[in-house]
């Protein structure tokens, strides 16, 4: 055999292998049909950023997966609930009765989702709670699916990270008492930390962000805790940070989920004043991505969006949309798509999210990893550990 022939054969083999490896998925021909999907989120008010970020994530995911396998597209119908439980329930009613949507994604907080959960059985529409993490979300209705990790997992991991990894013995908790989510986190953290034979030096519940915290924090400081666990909203955090600065006290601080996104978007405080704080979250910029995660990152670049402008809500939006499409594809032959979606999601063993695999138990609760991040001087976050 001539050497040139051998080269030719090898080249051919290489090209063939390359094509085999990069075989593209068949193109979907649009059918022209649209399936209505509702989105309930705070698109105005104090939590407007949450709704906007989540919607941006959904749109990125929709750009990547524009059609179901049969060529149908999803028509998104947005309802603004201002993160108010009453308005969330009203949005659910309107989406069901007026728009006849097939499924709903909700980006509002745990209080709103809990309110929706209590009436969801009445409308029999599958509702995907994308960011809410209260453990009771899936308790009241079989139509609620929780995509985020739940607060029991979050608080327990936070407590054990502090106790078993940072090897700290004494922690003080300052929590926001007028929110079920934060209240639950405070209690669960305390329970787990005590169970791990750690000492909770103080647990303080705050009712308003306008309180003068100097006195409270001075008392906490006197009992010499090594870390402050702060399950609370952004305004409370600002007030506490101000008081800590005045007290010239710089303890290790651990925050709860979602707060990172708010810190990034606020303009009141310089970003470096939060540097070094730890926070539990669903997402981090430098974390290992799954294939879906990598495809979404490419899509983000294609759309000219700055990756660092995205946050946890955007990530949950992307993931939620991808999950909904995946399940809808399983129900294309079904005569009752709503029921099929709801049945299909329960017991999913391995859905590929952005940063890892997610499984769903029979109650609709997701089991997934969380990350512990640290805030940098420029407000971005670095991933420290991923906990499964």
């Amino acid at each position: 055999m001539k050497l040139s022939h051998l080269f030719f054969l090898l080249t051919l083999l290489a090209v063939f292998s390359w094509f085999m490896k990069h075989e593209s998925t068949p193109q979907i021909t649009p059918s022209g049909n649209k399936i209505k999907v509702g989105i309930i989120a705070p698109f105005s008010g104090a939590d407007k950023d949450i709704g906007d970020s989540g919607l941006q994530g959904i749109e990125i995911s929709q750009a990547l997966i524009p059609y179901l396998n049969n060529g149908d597209a999803l028509e998104l119908i947005m309802m603004d609930d201002k993160n108010s439980p009453e308005q969330s329930v009203e949005a659910l009613r309107e989406l069901s009765e007026k728009h006849k949507v097939t499924a709903i994604m909700i980006l509002s907080d745990s209080d709103s989702v809990l309110a929706v959960a209590k009436v969801a059985d009445r409308y029999k529409i599958p509702v995907f709670a994308l960011s809410a993490s209260h453990p009771d979300i899936t308790k009241y209705s079989s139509f609620i699916t929780q995509l985020n990790f739940d607060d029991t997992f979050q608080a327990s991991v936070a407590a054990l990270y502090v106790r078993d990894e940072l090897l700290l013995d004494k922690v003080a908790i300052v929590a926001q008492s007028n929110n079920a989510h934060y209240l639950y986190l405070a209690n669960e953290f305390s329970r787990q930390f005590n169970a791990a034979e750690g000492e909770i030096t103080d647990t303080v519940y705050l009712t308003t962000a306008r309180q003068d915290y100097l006195e409270i924090l001075q008392k906490i400081k006197d009992r010499d805790p090594e870390l402050l666990y702060l399950p609370l909203g952004i305004n409370y955090l600002f007030a506490i940070k101000t008081a800590l600065t005045e007290l010239k006290w710089d303890p290790v601080i651990m925050l709860s989920d979602g707060l990172m996104a708010n810190i990034k978007k606020q303009t009141k405080y310089p970003l470096n004043s939060f540097a070094g704080m730890l926070a539990v979250d669903t997402f981090s910029y430098d974390i290992h991505l799954t294939d879906l995660g990598k495809q979404l990152m490419k899509q983000i670049q294609l759309m000219g969006i700055n990756l660092r402008s995205l946050d946890t809500y955007s990530a949950l939006g992307m993931e939620g949309y991808a999950l909904l499409v995946d399940i809808m594809n399983q129900c294309l032959e079904s005569k009752n798509m709503r029921a099929c979606i709801n049945d299909s999601i329960l017991g999913i063993e391995r859905f590929e999210g952005i940063t890892g695999f997610i499984s769903f138990d029979k109650t609709g609760k997701a089991h997934r990893s969380l990350v512990i991040n640290t805030i940098n001087d420029d407000g971005t976050m670095d991933f420290i550990v991923q906990v499964y």
């Binding site: 990270y161 990894e165 890892g356 695999f357």
Partner: protein, 630 residues
């Protein structure tokens, strides 16, 4: 004091007719009679009767014709070139202003200059034959344009057969892409290569022969032209230089000859310098340079050109990327390689000693002792000889070197096997295990060492023992481990280590062969069959190695996936400290070292296993070692 001619014939063209009035009223006391160029050509004999000085105002063609007449009728010439004839103005150092030019043309003191006739055509500047990428370009060409042009022209380079005969009768036969004859090389790119040692009255003509035997040589020539290289006595490779009063050129096939940018004749070409044949009014600077010039000696520099014996092998195809070489050109190297390929008692002794030392080092797990063995190993010489034998298709070299290597392998395996048998306890050390799973990375080590070996052999100034060690790194330990396998009567052990050795041997041979080729040691028609065999062997051996490399990648990916991972299992926090994928093939076996502060139960282990299998591919068998963090 400047004196002027009393009378002169002014020859004008249609373009320069306007000068007639100006010249008639000259203030130098020169009596002028004017005649058009066409009228002169009608009856030159009558027109030039009694004329001692002719002033010609015209272009290159008219001036050359006047030179031809001057040769015949023996008159001196004053030049008033057209403004567009910048080359002429520059060449004869003439003023650009017409007043000054007329003044110079009327002067009495003329300078005798040489005239070059090529096949009866006057050559004033240059004559070119064949392909001469850029050599005849002006020196002020921009570097970017120069590079672009060079690249473009490289696609059209090919070598033809040229024969040159000098005035002294020296005949040179070579292969070249083209040549350029130049009367004076000032301000051309050629002056960057051969310098500028000619004048218009030294009785000689210079010729540069362009013979880029490969694209590598072509690049070297270009680099020399691009950089202002100082040592003009040393010609770049692929360039020849002849300076003589007469040059005859023959080519196969016949080529067109371009003289002063006009294609006027064909080869064979006879060029002759007529010493101080005509007298001219030239610029002061050039005139001064012409004073006291002696006839130049004949100068022939052809050592960089391919010799006669190589010519038959040179095809008319496009030149190759790498250079080739005849055995005569690298005689010393080939003699040394032949010696290296011969069996000697020193080789046998060193081979046995180095393997014994390597085997002991492997059992000891001592890197230092193994390195000592590598220093002793005499494997480089026969492998390099084998590579050259393959490249040049030299059967004798091939046979000798291959048998020397074969004997070395048998000796090494035997020595290592015997010493293993003598050891009462035949443990497998980490140094041995490391040589039982060859991968593409080992092949990479071999390739680099092979290239280093061939390179060091090509240059006397490099200490060859250094490259010898590099080669030994890849060969001695695997060979010793294979011998240990025989000693242990463990076929799998032997085969794995021997696979690594074979891989490295082939890799080194192929890399050395390729390096010799790049360095220009291949024959003109190189041994395709030999290279083909090594290449096929290389590909065959690369397949299992690729699979092995894939496994390494999978192992690294799997292990790195556990970095910064924690597990929350039944209310217990598990910190993954270190993960090792001990077996890549199914079922995967994972060993993990975890840090905990609580005790782990059977139920926890089950849950941990479930989580690992959910999140990480391959459903591995998991073994954990718990370290309690107090």
């Amino acid at each position: 004091m400047t004196t002027y001619v009393n009378s002169a014939l002014f020859v004008y063209t249609q373009k320069s007719e306007a000068l007639v009035e100006q010249l008639h009223s000259n203030c130098f006391g020169t009596q002028l009679s004017a005649l058009s160029f066409d009228s002169l050509l009608l009856n030159p004999e009558a027109s030039l009767d009694g004329v001692r000085h002719v002033i010609i105002a015209g272009g290159l063609i008219e001036i050359k014709e006047i030179f031809r007449l001057a040769l015949k009728y023996d008159f001196s010439v004053g030049l008033i070139p057209e403004k567009s004839e910048k080359k002429l103005l520059k060449y004869f150092n003439l003023p650009t202003e017409s007043d000054k030019c007329i003044e110079l043309a009327c002067r009495e003191n003329t300078q005798a200059i040489d005239l070059v006739l090529c096949n009866d055509n006057i050559l004033l500047f240059k004559a070119t034959l064949g392909w001469l990428p850029l050599l005849d370009t002006s020196a002020d060409i921009s570097k970017v344009r120069f590079l672009l042009e060079s690249f473009k022209k490289s696609f059209r380079l090919k070598l033809l057969k040229f024969s040159f005969t000098t005035a002294k009768g020296q005949k040179i036969t070579t292969a070249a892409s083209g040549c350029i004859l130049i009367q004076q090389q000032q301000e051309s790119l050629i002056s960057k290569i051969i310098g500028n040692d000619s004048t218009v009255n030294d009785g000689t003509i210079s010729m540069v022969i362009f013979s880029p035997i490969s694209l590598v040589v072509y690049s070297k020539i270009l680099l020399r032209m691009l950089t202002a290289f100082r040592n003009k006595n040393r010609l770049p490779p692929g360039i020849g230089y002849i300076k003589s009063s007469q040059i005859d050129i023959e080519t196969v096939p016949v080529l067109n000859v371009t003289i002063d940018d006009v294609s006027v004749t064909q080869t064979p070409l006879h060029c002759q310098v007529l010493r101080e044949a005509i007298r001219l009014n030239i610029g002061d600077r050039l005139s001064n340079a012409c004073q006291n010039v002696k006839t130049s000696k004949e100068n022939v520099k052809i050592s960089n050109l391919p010799g006669d014996k190589e010519l038959d092998q040179i095809s008319l195809k496009h030149i190759p990327i790498f250079a080739y070489a005849s055995e005569e050109r690298f005689r010393e190297l080939f003699i040394s390689l032949r010696d290296d390929a011969k069996m000697s008692s020193i080789y046998v002794t060193l081979m046995i000693l180095s393997t014994l030392l390597a085997t002991i080092g492997l059992f000891q797990g001592s890197t230092a002792v193994i390195i000592g063995a590598m220093l002793l190993a005499p494997l480089m010489a026969p492998i390099v000889s084998l590579s050259m034998g393959l490249l040049r298709g030299n059967i004798e070299l091939l046979k000798n070197s291959a048998s020397k290597i074969g004997v070395g392998i048998v000796l090494a395996l035997s020595a290592s096997a015997i010493i293993t048998q003598l050891f009462p306890y035949k443990m497998v050390t980490d140094e041995m295990s490391a040589r039982l799973s060859p991968s593409l990375l080992d092949l990479a080590v071999a390739i680099v060492s092979g290239a280093a070996g061939a390179y060091s052999k090509s240059y006397k100034e490099i200490m060859q023992s250094l490259a010898g060690v590099a080669i030994a790194v890849a060969l001695v330990p695997p060979l010793a481990v294979a011998g240990i396998g025989i000693g242990r009567v463990d076929m799998n052990f032997f085969l794995q280590a021997f696979l690594l050795f074979s891989t490295n041997l082939i890799g080194i041979t192929l890399a050395a062969t390729f390096t010799f080729r790049v360095l220009g040691y291949s024959p003109i028609v190189y041994a395709k069959r030999g290279l083909g065999i090594v290449f096929v062997l290389f590909m065959v051996i690369a397949v299992p190695l690729y699979a092995s490399y894939d496994q390494i990648v999978e192992k690294i990916t799997f292990e790195s996936a556990f970095k910064q991972k924690r597990f929350f299992v039944n209310g217990k926090y598990i910190i993954v400290q270190k993960v090792q994928l001990n077996r890549v093939n199914k079922p995967k076996i994972v060993t993990a070292e975890v840090l905990m502060r609580s005790t782990i139960t059977r139920k926890d282990m089950q849950e941990l296993k479930k989580k690992i299998q959910l999140h990480f591919p391959g459903k591995p068998i998991i073994r954990i070692q718990v370290i309690y963090n107090l």
